[in-house]
């Protein structure tokens, strides 16, 4: 396939957290609001006058200073973020809208409060409590938290308009972006997809880390081009897979999987578009904030949710995703030291093949991906096993 329009430009934007578009938005007087987790609704941080930046630490090396503070036995994502902050790479942030949703990102954000790291006089870090269930009580609680710890704080610190009208307008813009990303992503469902997992990961990541209003035109161009884009005559992949799991913000990791012959057709991981780019529906009689609270709780597929039926629905969701995107298998990837996903990966690895018939490749990886050789071997073996199964199946037919 020929190169997708804007793709290298977008790839460049992922080379640093404080990228040129972030700088442009700041220069236009907008406030940069950092966050790490899906449970901090980005739509609230994209209200007029501010913009959301989901934090990454691209091109990280060895996070030595952060390792002093957080030891080498914690998730490297959290450590790399702290390292980047200690290096001064997050000084552009005007606020960190924090959640205590996993131990290490929570500790990272607490360090921002404790150590006076961010050299920005306006900077503050505010925590929101996020429930573990999806029931009405949890939605009430979450809505209340978002009002007090996000909206009220934005108004208080930066004079942001947090009226229902402003929220509705932002939801509209957010949904437009989601529709575009979903449209772009839908080409992955084709029998012969016309977009690669790597390309899609770059596009989706940019929508998380750049001011949205500055990339909308580019997304539209991409969506337009995809309408006519043709897949290669000779198929250059051997199977299609869903990538599921914990935090993943490295398109090169997806490239690695694809180099091994497995086209990544669906992204069900933190920073992925499933369900991250579901549109927010404001039901009749519902306030926009209520709709946002409900949306983020109901759509999340995080293993943090504890209700029995939700735990089990997560497996079904994964299998349904694989079916919808015509995947041959599922790669479950877990960031080393992520407790939630180490357990979820264990159960997925047994249940998904047993109950849903999808082969699973179960891996553990670091944020700074040094074990490329080992992972390549694992993925190649997985691809071969899928091919063998296909051959066996065809033979038996």
């Amino acid at each position: 396939m020929k190169d997708l329009v804007h793709i290298f430009e977008l790839e460049d934007l992922l080379q640093e957290a404080n990228n040129p578009l972030v700088r442009q938005a700041k220069a236009e007087g907008r406030r940069a609001l950092g966050y790490t987790c899906y449970f901090m609704p980005e739509v609230l941080l994209d209200l007029p006058g501010c913009f959301s930046v989901r934090l990454r630490a691209p091109r990280s090396g060895s996070p030595d200073m952060a390792t002093y503070y957080m030891s080498n036995r914690t998730c490297m994502y959290g450590r790399c973020l702290l390292e980047r902050a200690l290096e001064g790479g997050l000084n552009f942030l005007d606020a960190e809208m924090a959640t205590e949703t996993c131990a290490v990102t929570c500790r990272f954000q607490e360090h921002l409060q404790l150590l006076d790291i961010i050299k920005n006089p306006d900077f503050f870090c505010e925590f929101t409590d996020v429930p573990f269930k999806k029931n009405d009580n949890s939605i009430d609680h979450y809505e209340n938290q978002l009002q007090v710890h996000v909206l009220d704080k934005l108004k208080e610190h930066f004079g942001i308009d947090i009226s229902d009208e402003a929220l509705l307008k932002t939801i509209g813009e957010h949904n437009e972006l989601c529709r575009l990303i979903r449209e772009i992503g839908s080409y992955r469902k084709l029998d012969e997809p016309t977009i690669t997992g790597w390309e899609f990961a770059i596009i989706n990541l940019c929508s998380l880390v750049c001011p949205k209003y500055l990339i909308m035109d580019k997304l539209r161009d991409i969506a337009d081009e995809l309408k006519t884009r043709k897949s290669d005559v000779k198929k250059n992949y051997r199977c299609k897979v869903v990538l599921a799991g914990s935090e993943e913000d490295d398109p090169d990791f997806i490239k690695l999987i694809e180099e091994c012959g497995a086209l990544v057709v669906a992204d069900r991981y933190c920073y992925g578009s499933l369900p991250g780019r579901d549109e927010i529906v404001v039901k009749e009689g519902e306030t926009p904030l209520r709709a946002i609270a409900r949306h983020y709780l109901e759509t999340s597929q995080c293993p943090r949710f504890m209700e029995q039926h939700i735990m089990r629905e997560r497996k079904q969701f994964l299998a349904d995703t694989a079916k919808e995107y015509k995947a041959d298998g599922i790669i479950i990837s877990q960031m080393k030291f992520c407790e939630y996903w180490s357990y979820e990966r264990t159960i997925d690895t047994i249940i998904i093949p047993r109950d849903f018939g999808y082969p699973v490749c179960s891996i553990e990886k670091e944020y700074v991906n040094n074990a490329v050789g080992q992972l390549r071997t694992r993925f190649q073996a997985f691809v071969e096993s899928i091919e063998l199964k296909k051959i066996q199946k065809e033979g038996s037919v």
């Binding site: 002093y68 030891s71 036995r73 990272f108 949890s138 609680h141 029995q308 735990m311 407790e339 357990y343």
Partner: protein, 563 residues
């Protein structure tokens, strides 16, 4: 290849003969001193407790001679008394002698019982090494209470257990609520006249691993055998390893779980739910628990749990029952505060740190039970005496230490070792300070409010979540308990604690505090052995503090295969 006299002699020597030190051998015989030592026990510096161990087993060539009075107290009121009660309690809680049959079936079925139950007295031994007089008595009563309450729970589990009844459903099975050990028993007060609430992992994991840590390694290995990486909290691993090995009693139609204390606990409940495959109520507590806005949510979850119980068991929430148990439990809390006060302000606190910590965590998690009151009454009498007479219960104290973060479970006698070897008297542990909440019962609203707060301040989470100020409250507690040293438990697999390691280092330096980092992996001695822990403390005491040990035989000994 038969066994010769030489072998028997060598074995006898290995198992029973305590070698005299060169100084003792060369010392002229002093009958008067020998008689004095026989009657009162040897002075601390001459005890040579390390010489009593048999190889790497942790067994004793002979138990410690503590002087006539304390040895006979130990023999009669601890050893004989508790062995006798380990039988009589089974009969008492097991509705008669047939309870012994149920109990025996459990011993033969479950590893955590078969390998552990009879080794209980060695748990006492480890926790009471070198302890004398009032401290010996008060601490031993704490152990007695824990054993008694464990037997009550064990017998109830076994009598209700489908697995021990050939797959049939015993009647009692229908009247039990299983819950995670991290869900407080206080939640179930309104139903205690009809239902028994029994924490699922309290005995199979938490208690048994203190008594005999050999069993737990099987469960950790089992957890990893189905694909779990080795780095998650070993406590969580063991708690679901029990399920992988099908080594949990099936005694209840439902399960109640919570998010206490950490990510690992939440994730563990996902796997446990799969293996249990029965109705489950998840009752999470908010993380940011200082926030007044979160309380309503927490209270509604508790009410949700009550509704779940009502629906499943067809019974009604009983306010009077709640009031009865909560008020009774408040008396335990009041005494706990009294104990803290004595520990903080005097040298007359008569309870070893490990007895204090285990008892506190056990009873406050378990909730109100008669045995806790019985024991508190006994301990109160002892404590009143020591305070009134200004008795220095740990007279060789050189340092008053506070132990912070999650404690190494298998090393349940480290506190006694630290005192015996170095005079480090561990005054209070972090986990003793949880559940610091009075339960009001004047109105339903107040009761619910306090119950919510109580559960939000559960073990570990009270300090480890909800903001860095909680974990950094160490320095306030250090001042409150008049401590000059910190024993910083460094749980290598606890992400929350590892994630704030450096801030503590900074603070210790800034405040010029002597802090000893004690690495450990809770029950998994393969990650950090007991000897390594002792070595770290020894190194700090010799190189930084430049002190001499009180008992040099305890500096270095091999207990790698001990219980």
């Amino acid at each position: 290849m038969g066994i010769g006299l030489k072998d028997i002699k060598a074995k006898y020597k290995e198992l029973f003969v305590v070698e005299k030190s060169p100084e003792e051998k060369n010392r002229p015989r002093d009958i008067k001193k020998s008689l004095h030592d026989f009657w009162y026990g040897k002075p601390h510096e001459e005890r040579r407790l390390g010489d009593l161990y048999v190889g790497n087993t942790g067994l004793y060539k002979h138990r410690e001679w503590r002087g006539v009075k304390d040895t006979m107290y130990y023999f009669n009121m601890i050893w004989l008394y508790n062995y006798a009660h380990m039988v009589s309690d089974i009969v008492k809680y097991g509705d008669g002698p047939m309870g012994i049959v149920d109990f025996a079936k459990g011993i033969m079925r479950y590893r955590w019982m078969g390998q552990t139950y009879l080794t209980v007295m060695h748990w006492f031994d480890r926790g009471l090494e070198g302890v004398r007089d009032d401290a010996l008595r008060a601490s031993a009563w704490h152990y007695r209470a824990m054993v008694s309450e464990s037997i009550r729970q064990i017998i109830r589990m076994f009598q209700s257990d489908k697995k021990l009844n050939g797959g049939k459903t015993p009647d009692k099975w229908n009247y039990n609520i299983a819950h995670n050990e991290t869900v407080s028993g206080s939640i179930f007060y309104p139903f205690r006249d009809i239902l028994e609430d029994i924490p699922l992992e309290m005995i199979p994991y938490f208690v048994s691993v203190h008594v005999n840590n050999h069993t737990v390694l099987n469960y950790i290995d089992a957890a990893q055998s189905i694909g779990l990486p080795a780095d998650p909290c070993p406590m969580c691993q063991a708690e679901y390893g029990l399920f992988v090995l099908d080594d949990y009693p099936d005694y209840s139609p439902v399960m109640v779980t919570s998010n206490e204390a950490c990510d690992g606990s939440v994730a563990t409940s996902v796997l446990q739910d799969w293996f249990l495959n029965r109705p489950l109520y998840a009752m999470p507590q908010p993380m940011r628990y200082d926030d007044p806005l979160v309380q309503k949510h927490c209270q509604k979850e508790i009410e949700g749990c009550w509704r779940f119980i009502e629906e499943h068991f067809g019974i009604k929430f009983d306010w009077d029952q709640y009031v009865k148990y909560a008020q009774s439990f408040n008396k335990l809390t009041e005494f706990e505060w009294e104990k803290w006060d004595v520990a903080a302000k005097t040298d007359s606190y008569p309870i070893t740190s490990v007895a204090q910590a285990l008892y506190r965590i056990y009873y406050s998690q378990d909730g109100d039970r008669p045995i806790w009151h019985e024991i508190d009454d006994r301990v109160k009498r002892i404590m009143n005496k020591t305070v009134k007479n200004k008795i220095r219960t740990f007279p060789k104290t050189r340092h008053r230490a506070i132990a912070w973060s999650c404690a190494p479970l298998y090393y349940s006698h480290w506190c006694t070792w630290a005192y015996n070897c170095w005079g480090i008297n561990c005054i209070i542990n972090m986990d003793s300070l949880m559940f610091d909440q009075y339960l009001r019962t004047d109105t339903y609203e107040h009761a619910l409010e306090d119950l919510g707060l109580y559960n939000e301040k559960a073990p570990m989470r009270a300090m480890a979540v909800g903001g860095h100020e909680h974990i950094l409250s160490l320095f306030d507690y250090m001042e409150r308990f008049n401590c000059d040293m910190v024993i910083m438990y460094d749980q290598l697999q606890c992400k929350g604690m590892q994630g704030i390691h450096g801030v503590f280092e900074d603070e210790f330096r800034k405040r010029d505090i002597h802090a000893i980092w004690v690495p450990h992996a809770l029950p998994d001695k393969r990650t950090v052995s007991r000897a390594e822990i002792r070595g770290i403390i020894n190194d700090y005491m010799t190189t930084v503090m430049r002190e001499e040990p009180l008992d040099p035989t305890l500096l270095d000994f091999d207990d790698s295969n001990s219980w």
